[in-house]
Symmetry: C2
Subunit: 80 residues, 2 copies
């Protein structure tokens, strides 16, 4: 069994309203030293596969077909 840790973030230039709102609220709460906030998403998939390479290939296909949007997302996958 392999565990894939897929970290999905917005591409540079894509607006991140959640991050912006958190930043604003932190400032309102008095955290003046906060310079920027970005939100990301992690999906952890446990799957069976013949090898680590096979698992990585399957997870890559999952990302393409369901988990990420190539227009707005960059993602990294770590298999363990």
């Amino acid at each position: 069994m392999f565990k894939a840790h897929i970290e999905i973030k917005l591409k540079k230039g894509v607006v991140d309203p959640e991050g912006k709102n958190i930043e604003k609220t932190l400032h309102l709460l008095g955290f003046d030293t906060v310079k920027s906030v970005h939100s990301q998403k992690v999906i952890v998939v446990e799957l069976d596969a013949a090898s680590k390479e096979d698992a990585a290939a399957k997870v890559g296909e999952m990302c393409k077909r369901l988990l990420t949007n190539p227009v707005t997302h960059d993602y990294t996958v770590v298999i363990s």
Copy 2:
């Protein structure tokens, strides 16, 4: 300037509908070897602080006051 990488996940036993839905959809798409899927959230905060310890203390307070819910969330913070 320090960068805090805050990974927020649901506590054990808390229902993760997003993860469950992704799992179901992956099965429907033919990824039969998927055993489980969990969703998590990452918030990246860039902030000024006197030291790494000071940054960690500030981020801990942000987590308590705004970013996490102690009833449902576990979180880890990595400062770099």
